[in-house]
Structure formats: C-alpha cells, structure tokens
C-alpha cells in the first residue's frame, strides 16, 4: 500500500485548520472572526481541491515522518475519505458563512462566541484527520479532538440546558471512546499493529477478535447515538447555537459512523457473522422508526430536527447487514453490494446537507422569534418564504422523494435489500419514510396555516436564509453527478481489503 502516490494534501488538510485556529486565537472579537472565517474558507477550499485531486489521481497517501506502518502512521485519502472530506468542506463552508453573519448580527461577538471560530477549526481538523486516518490509535486521538471541541461548541450558548446536555454528551462520548480504546488495546495485543490494513490481514478469528468487535462497535454506537444509545443526542443538538447544531448533526455524528464503517469493512472481516450484521441492521431499523416517531411528538423545532437525526442515522446502519455475506454466498454473485454501498454514501451526503439546512433554518426562526416552538411556524411561508422553502426542500430530501439525494439513498438501499433477498428491511425503510413525511409536513402544514396573532419578529439578515437554502438545494444537486460519484466510490485503487473488496466481494461472515 505504501507504493500509492504520496501527496501533501492529507497532511495539509489537518495542519491548515489547526494553524488557522491557532492564529485566530491571537485576535480579539472581530479579528478573531475574520481569521476564523478565512481559515474556514481556506480549509474548505483545500478540502474541495483535494477531493478533485483524488478523482484525478486515485488514492493519495502521506507517510507521516517517513515511517511506514506498522511503526509509523499513514494518512490515506481514498475515495471514501475524499467523499467525506468533500462533504465536510462544502457543508462546512456554508455553515461558516452562516455563522459569520449569525454572530456578527447578534452583536454578541465579544463574549464567548469568539471561541466558536477556533473550536470549529479544531473540530474541522479533527474531522479531516479522522477521515484520513489509517491507524486505530490515531483514530482515537482524532475522535477525542472531535468530542472535546464538539461538546465545547455545544455548551457555547451557556444555557443551563446546554450545560446539562453537554455534560451528558461528554460523559457518553468518553465512555464510548474508552470502550473503543479497550478494543484497540486487545487488537494491538493480538496483532502487533495498529494499521488498519495490516491488522485486517493479521487478525485471527477468536474470542479476542469477537470481543473487540463487540466493544468497539458498542463504543462507536454510543458516539454516533445509535439506538439504544441515542439518549444524549436530542438535548445536546437542540440546545446548541444554530450553526453548532448544524455542525454537530451534519458532520460530527458521521465521524463515529465512519470509523465503524472502516473497521467493519477493513479489519473485522474474520469475526463478522451474518447474525452480527442482522443485529446492527435491526438497531438501525428501530432507530429509523423510533426516531421519526419521537420527532412527530415534539413541540420544539430543534428537538424535532434532532430526533430526525437519530432516525436518519439509522438508515446508515441498515446498510450493514447487506454488506456481510451469508456463508454460502459466493463473492462475485452478490450484486447488491454496490447498491447498498452507494446508498449508504448517498444517505451520508443527503443527510449532511438536509440536516444542516434544517438546523440553520431553525436558527433563523429562533433568531427572529426568540424561541422555536413548532406552533410558531404558522404563516412562515408568508413572512419568511425562503426559510420555508429551505425547510421544505430539505424535508423532501429527508423523506426521500425524488429527485433528491435522499431518494437516491433510499432507492439504492431498497434495491440492495431486494437484491439480497433480505426483504424484511423494506417495511422499515418505507415506514421511516412515511413517518418522516409526517413530521416534515407537520412543519409545512403550519407554515402554510394562518397566524393566530400578529407575529413580531426581529429582522433576519437575508444571507442567513440564502445559506440555509443553498444547503437544502445541495441535497438535490448531489444527484446530478451521481453516475460519476458512484463510479468514483467504487473505482479508486485501494488496498485489497476495504472498499474495493466491498464492491467486489463483500465481507464474508464466518459461521
């Protein structure tokens, strides 16, 4: 694997945001925000450029310190990593622009909000580092970077609710990381390496591998708020400031999911079984339905959107049972792997765009009204048509109506489900869609309904609405290049394990 083309992009993707975050620390209020925004734009631009580079040159690597694995750490930017980095870049830029106007028009940028920019940049560095990492321990460090900065951002609003939610979030996340790290310790003990690829080759099936799989999966499920470990997410995401909620729900929860995906496909091949996939898929299905149901019951917009995250993240887990082949299935014959894989990628993208747009829209409403009770959305179409439209468009993508990214995701997922013969997942997908339609149209219904009283609201900068709308549109625009994207996702050179083998043969369950 070390003979792949090397490049400085991976190192820069982590280094640049850290540098800009450090620089922005030296400035007070306005200068801090300027430096922060410039940093965000640069980091985002770099993310997009490096994505383009990967589409041209294939997988890029960076051997840190010149020390090859197993001793050293290797950064690897393959198609999957590039995809995640690309999404983070696009969504991140728009959220940063939103944050710029959000904070500057709140006239409060002198206080703690200055911390937003450095923390967000550090978080961004952590995310990039996580997507690039090819080393189990380094993944731990990056995910801790993400946890600390994410919780810090979540409590920035300083409200008591946010503090409670933040502490709960932090404790859950630390527990999750420690569980993950215990698994890493055992894996290191059994294989003598931390490199994902090498470990995948060296790992022998047995009690240790199975236990590591379980404990790591559990730990990561806590961090990604999978059912039944979702308890911390709704309060934490809903009590944060608008741009922060968007970052947390669109990007941060994807981090733990990404690790899980990497490990399941690249390391744990030997200890996975058909049943394990079914179990994960089941928790995903429950999350889809339960999260959407809870969302329907909410009275606050941000809580609704947060529960919707739990539901939408469940779809990602539902792709896992399709990736693990039953013992008798030959590698070549599994034609559902590609749809399941691309469906998962599309769900990640569509959810990142749609959910960040929804949270930013919710932020606009809070900004204008001072609260986010769903009842107050009445007549939104008349007084904030652009925001109503953003909510509508993003909602449509969440439901999975054509021609949105969410539709692509569900289409691919359902296709994979039927091709694999695991038809029992289909009702969950559809029921989730229906319930999602339920809460999305609950919002839209109110948006069209007449106001009970005259609404007094603060004027909102136009540009905030534009950012939210652009993100919502993004969840549709990703469909246009889908042919190229799908080809890209399956086509880059990889290391024999992992994505390529997924597209070709899937992970073979033992048992």
């Amino acid at each position: 694997m070390t003979d792949l083309p090397t490049s400085s992009y991976p190192a820069l993707l982590v280094g640049l945001p850290v540098l800009m975050a450090t620089i922005s620390l030296f400035f007070k209020s306005r200068g801090n925000a300027v430096a922060g925004l410039i940093g965000c734009l640069l980091t985002g631009g770099l993310g997009i450029v490096s994505f383009a580079e990967v589409t041209q040159r294939g997988t890029l690597i960076h051997i840190l310190g010149g020390w090859k694995p197993p001793l050293g750490i290797l950064l690897r930017m393959d198609s999957l990593a590039a995809l995640f980095i690309g999404i983070t870049a696009v969504v991140g830029i728009l959220i940063s622009l939103y944050a710029w106007w959000y904070f500057s028009s709140r006239k409060v940028s002198d206080g703690k909000f200055t911390l937003f920019w450095s923390l967000w940049l550090f978080l961004w560095a952590g995310l990039n580092g996580l997507f690039l990492s090819n080393d189990l321990f380094n993944l731990y460090v990056t995910i801790e970077v993400i946890t600390i900065t994410a919780v810090a951002l979540a409590v920035l609003s300083g409200r008591t609710v946010a503090l409670f939610a933040g502490l709960r979030y932090l404790l859950a996340a630390i527990t999750g990381s420690m569980a993950y790290l215990l698994g890493v310790a055992l894996l290191y003990g059994s294989t003598g390496t931390l490199d994902l690829g090498l470990m995948g080759q060296a790992l022998e099936p047995g009690a240790t591998a199975t236990f590591s799989l379980i404990i790591i999966t559990l730990g990561l499920m806590i961090k990604k708020a999978a059912f039944p470990f979702h308890f911390w997410l709704p309060p934490a995401h809903s009590s944060a400031l608008a741009p922060v909620s968007a970052i947390l729900s669109a990007l941060v929860v994807k981090g733990a999911f990404y690790i899980m995906l990497r490990l399941w496909t690249e390391v744990f091949g030997v200890s996975l079984s058909y049943a394990a996939g079914q179990l994960i898929g089941f928790t995903g299905a429950v999350a889809v339905i339960w999260g959407a149901w809870q969302a329907l019951l909410q009275t606050n917009l941000k809580m609704l959107v947060a529960y919707s995250s739990i539901s939408q993240m469940g779809y990602l887990l539902m792709a896992f049972p399709l990736l693990i082949l039953a013992p008798g299935v030959a590698s070549g014959s599994a034609d559902w792997l590609a749809p399941a894989w691309t469906g998962m990628a599309y769900q990640v993208m569509a959810h990142a765009f749609a959910k960040s747009s929804l949270f930013l829209s919710a932020g606009i409403i809070v900004f204008a009204l001072g609260h986010d009770r769903i009842e107050s959305l009445r007549d939104l179409v008349a007084w904030k048509p652009m925001t109503a439209m953003a909510i509508g468009i993003a909602g449509v993508s969440l439901i999975g109506l054509p021609p949105s990214g969410g539709f692509m995701a569900k289409w691919m997922l359902l296709k994979g489900i039927f091709l694999s013969g695991q038809w029992w997942w289909a009702p969950a997908v559809l029921l989730g869609s229906l319930l999602t339609a339920g809460y999305v149209f609950m919002l839209l219904r109110l948006a069209f309904a007449p106001a009970r009283e005259k609404i007094a609201f603060r004027p909102v900068p136009h540009i905030l609405q534009v950012c939210a709308l652009l993100l919502a549109l993004g969840s549709f625009l990703i469909v246009l290049p889908s042919e190229n994207l799908i080809q890209f996702l399956g086509g880059t050179e990889s290391f024999g394990t992992g994505i390529e083998s997924i597209m070709e043969g899937g992970v073979h369950g033992n048992e």
Binding site: I73, K112, Y188, M303
Partner: protein, 316 residues
C-alpha cells in the same frame, strides 16, 4: 514470589476502584482515587513502564487530584440551598422511582457479570501479536534519540503527539467555553500561611530543575516532555496556591504565545519539513536529535502553561 506481589497489587487495585465507586461520601471517593492512582503507578513500574508511571503519578493522579480536591470543596459549598436558573429541558421528566428497582438492578448486575466474564475470556485468550518491539529496536538508531518511548512519541508517532498537544489547548478552550472565562478573577494575596509560602518557594526551583532533568534525559531514559511539563505546570499551580497569581501577571499576548507555542512550532516544523520535500515530521536523521529536543522543550513549556491555565480557570 513476584507473582504473589502482582496478585496482591491486582487485588488492591480492584478493591480501591470498587471502594472509590461505592464510597458513600464524596471525600472518601476522592481520597481513595488518590490511592488508586498511586497504586496504578506502582503497577506501571511492575510492568517496566517507568515513563507511564511518572505520567500517571503526575497527571492522572497529581494534577487531576488537585482539580478534584478543589472541586470537592466547591461542591461542598452550601450553594445548593438556593438553586437558581434551574431551567430544565422539557423532556427531562423526573421519573418517580417508587416502583421496585430490584429487577432492573438484577438485570444490570447479571449483565455486568457476563460482560466481565466475556471480557476476561477475551483478554486471557489474546493471541501473541508480538508487538512492535522488534521494529522499534531496529529503527531506534535512526530516530535521533536513544530512549525508545521518546522515539515513538516524538519521532515515529509524532503526529499523535502533536494532536495531543493540540488536545490540551482545546481542553483549555473548552473550559473557557464551559463558562470559565468571564468569571476569572485575579486571586488576591489573601492570607496564605507564611510557612506554606516558604515551602512553596523551596519547592519551585527543585521542581524546575527536576523537570529540566526529565526533559533532557528523556532522550536517553524515562522522562520527556509530558512529565517535565507537568512538573513545570505544578510550579504555576504552586505559585497560585501561594497567592502569587503569576498566570495573570503574564501579559495577554505573551500568554497566548506561550499557550500556542508548542502546537504551533511543531506544526510549522512539520510544514517546513514538508516544504523541504519530505513528509510531515520527517526529520533529517542528522538533525533529528536537536530538532526533537527543541520541539520537546517548546511543547513542554506550552503544556506547563496550559496546565496552569486549566487549573487557574477551572478552580477560580
């Protein structure tokens, strides 16, 4: 014989951990935690991990212990008499726990035991992966330092270490975000026991020298940036305990510089090395030793300042 010691130590560790969790009073929990930390440090030594032992004793037990002790004092205040600002989220329904808790507890207990058994089986059966000892031994001469742990930390896996220095800075920012920054008041020269101040004044140069020693000899033996940083950081903490608010006395710009110096210099070094045509953190072998020492020193100063700052802002 040594097996007996190890078994006794293991039992002691488990006992202390349990005691720590089950102690009815918070103060007992914290003191037991101290004991636990020190025992763990001894266990590290039994496992030939002197570096870890120093780090554990200094950071996990020492630094954390100081923070916990101060928090204990804070939590013992009668503040709870007048709860204010209790703004509960709407879904935080406080459940009445009238119904029997026996069943859930039983289930939890059984789950706990099962988890314990499975995890013990898994550990027991861990295959011998062989570790990376041989590789590190082979590559150690090229690393520019002689102590393998330092080589791993600052050369082989310098990237992790760099991120970790970042984590400390982020932790400090996070503590600001949690609400510390506005409430920071300069400690007044309150009545501190003169004897204490004398003791502190005596300890400060000792700590400084010992830290410098650890830093420098981290090259060849146990010790290194983190251990030195904690010792230097404790100088800052001691100053504050003695009523000298040195952290507040440093000008803001300098403080910022000191705090970011470790992370920044490491990063710039990495970028420069990249610009020179290598990978990030790829030291030219001839200069590896000196570059590592410089980076390490700057990092140690930064961490020391950051730890002091964490203490200052956290304890207020």
């Amino acid at each position: 014989m040594s097996v007996v010691i190890d078994i006794l130590m293991a039992i002691l560790l488990i006992y202390l951990a349990l005691r720590c969790m089950l102690a009815p009073e918070l103060s007992k929990t914290i003191f037991t935690f101290f004991a636990f930390g020190l025992t763990l440090a001894l266990a590290w030594i039994r496992l030939e991990a002197v570096d870890v032992a120093i780090a554990e004793a200094a950071i996990a037990s020492g630094f954390m212990g100081v923070l916990l002790l101060d928090s204990l004092r804070d939590f013992s205040y009668a503040l709870s008499k007048n709860p204010k600002n209790l703004e509960l989220p709407e879904n935080f329904t406080i459940k009445e726990s009238n119904k029997s808790l026996l069943l859930p507890r039983l289930a939890l207990g059984i789950g706990f035991v099962i988890f314990l058994l499975i995890s013990m089986e898994a550990t027991w059966k861990t295959p011998e992966g062989g570790g990376l000892t041989a590789v590190s031994e082979e590559l150690l001469p090229q690393s520019g330092v002689e102590h393998p742990v330092t080589a791993v930390l600052l050369n082989f896996r310098a990237y992790d270490t760099w991120l970790e220095i970042g984590v400390i800075l982020m932790g400090l920012l996070a503590i600001f975000a949690a609400g510390g920054v506005k409430n920071y008041r300069k400690p007044s020269m309150t009545a501190v026991d003169p004897l204490l101040r004398q003791v502190i004044l005596f300890f400060i140069p000792v700590l400084f020298l010992f830290g410098a020693f650890l830093l420098y000899f981290g090259k060849t033996g146990p010790g290194g940036a983190f251990q030195a940083a904690v010792l230097w950081g404790s100088i800052g903490i001691l100053f504050h305990l003695g009523g000298w608010p040195i952290f507040a006395m440093i000008p803001r710009k300098l403080r910022q510089f000191l705090l970011t110096m470790g992370l920044g210099s490491f990063l710039i070094l990495g970028f420069l090395l990249m610009a020179a045509g290598g990978a990030m953190f790829e030291y030219p072998p001839a200069y590896a030793g000196i570059l590592i020492l410089i980076a390490e020193t700057l990092a140690a100063i930064s961490i020391a300042v950051a730890l002091t700052a964490i203490y200052v802002y956290l304890t207020k």
